[in-house]
Amino acid sequence: MGLDQEKLKLLEEVFSSRGRVRILAVLCEYGELNLSEVARKTGLNSTSTVNHLRVLTEKGLVAERRLGRVRMYRLDLGNPRVKLITEFLRRWFHIDL
């Protein structure tokens, strides 16, 4: 049985981008943030932030909600892959190698 190509593609798409990894790490650390805070905390410009967030939302890893004019983003904890990613990130940042 070979690797599931779709799952492999998702893995590559998410982790091959420095910007997306940063966004995931920032959302894991700070919880829910609006667009400009995500951009500020990741050091990305706003266009890149919007693009990366769109990909992560489409892949079901990030959830978006609107409160008035504000769009807020957070990790979609209902997705079992997100649980895996947050667990990985927490361990990654809290283990002194």
Binding site: Y30, E32, E37
Partner: protein, 391 residues
């Protein structure tokens, strides 16, 4: 580490501590519960609100916080997603906008601080509550500053928010904590009529009340055998004329500190007398000072030191204060703020009634601002220095 012979846990005499029980306020607690109890029976269908009024140190903050914590626990036990949010309007400069931002950020800490108007923010808050299926008891402490600054509008908006949205479940329940009930006269007729049946008045603590409050707090915070009945009675005698339990608790704490300094195993009446002498009575001052930023404290300290130096002067100029502020910044290892920022500090300190400000002096050339104090400069200087040194 040295173990105190007096204190079991001195943090339990901190003014911000909310004890598990509130002696002599049980009736008011029950009244509040009965006012808000319909939320538990029919969540979403009722929107109770309350106004709690009483003088300084009458237990308004402790009462509303204790009620909030207990009610939150009870609501959660019944399966409601319920949160009690306590905001201090004075610390938030009496601004409705800042109060709403703070409230939303207690639910989503990453919510932006800028970019909206108050009405828009209130709508966002309601949307958020809906989205999270959350019920919020919002305690607006020191709401006097909100009423002075913003008038009727915020009270009207918060109490009648669901009138224009009758289909929405009721999720936001405000409690306004007011020192001066007279401020309610400034509310418009419609708002006032809405609140009239929801007022909880706290009477001043009398001598017996004060004794019971002190005995209870002493039993929590002090070691048994470290205080005498007559010591408690003396403190109660000193604090009863003001009816201010906060002052009584501060006296007890300070007396305990004097006993420690003397290496005495017991707080004696003499320690209380020393505490009474050292603790000038300025109601609410410590809390107001604690709410200041480090630079506001330094600025106010500069005013106090200038006036201490010029003891015959009633006012000092902005120029004199600014000069000393810079010197103080250097000695406290802080980078001084710019002149415009100092103006903002001055305006805020005046709003908090910590400073009196006169725009221009008669018979003097040019325009400058004069600042004075309502509190003894030497006392203020001593208290601020201790706070800045973290003592």
């Amino acid at each position: 580490m040295d173990v105190s012979r007096i204190f079991k846990d001195e943090s339990l005499l901190d003014l911000s501590y909310v004890p598990p029980r509130l002696p002599r306020r049980e009736e008011e607690l029950r009244l509040l519960r009965s006012m808000f109890e319909p939320i538990l029976r029919k969540p979403g269908s009722v929107a109770p609100r309350a106004v709690v009024t009483g003088g300084i140190g009458s237990g308004k903050t402790a009462l509303t916080q204790r009620f909030g914590l207990d009610f939150e626990e009870e609501a959660r036990a019944r399966g409601l997603n319920f949160k009690c949010i306590h905001v201090n309007c004075q610390i938030l400069r009496g601004s409705f906008f800042m109060i709403l931002v703070e409230t939303v950020r207690r639910i989503i800490p990453g919510f932006p601080r800028r970019g909206f108007g108050a009405n828009e923010l209130l709508d966002s808050l309601l949307e958020l509550l809906e989205d999270e299926n959350l019920y919020v008891l919002l305690i607006l402490d020191d709401a006097d500053s909100l009423l002075v600054k913003e008038g009727s509008t915020p009270v009207y908006a918060l109490t009648r928010v669901y009138e224009s949205k009758p289909e929405r479940p009721r999720r936001l329940f405000p409690i306004f904590v007011l020192r001066d009930p007279g401020l309610m006269r400034n509310l418009n007729h419609a708002t006032l009529s809405y609140l009239r049946g929801s007022i909880v008045k706290l009477r001043k603590y009398g001598l017996d009340d004060m004794i019971e409050v002190l005995e209870y707090r002493a039993s929590l915070a002090l070691r048994s055998g470290s205080y005498l009945d007559r010591t408690i009675r003396l403190i109660a005698d000193m604090a009863a004329p003001m009816g201010d339990a906060r002052y009584a608790i501060e006296l007890l704490y300070r007396a305990g500190k004097y006993a420690e300094t003397d290496e005495s195993p017991v707080i004696m009446p003499e320690h209380v007398r020393k505490a009474y002498q050292s603790l000038e009575y300025y109601p609410g001052l410590t809390e107001a000072l604690r709410s200041l930023s480090r630079h506001e404290k330094l600025f106010l300290l500069a005013v106090a030191r200038c006036l201490e130096r010029e003891s015959e002067e009633a006012y000092v100029t902005m120029g004199e204060v600014e000069g000393l502020y810079r010197v103080l910044c250097e000695s406290y290892g802080e980078k001084p703020r710019a002149h415009t920022q100092l103006w903002k500090y001055m305006r805020n300190l005046s709003f908090l009634s910590l400073l009196t400000v006169n725009p221009s002096g008669r018979g003097r050339r040019g325009r400058t601002t004069y600042m004075g104090l309502n509190v003894a400069a030497s006392y203020l200087s001593k208290v601020l220095s201790k706070m800045l040194e973290g003592v």
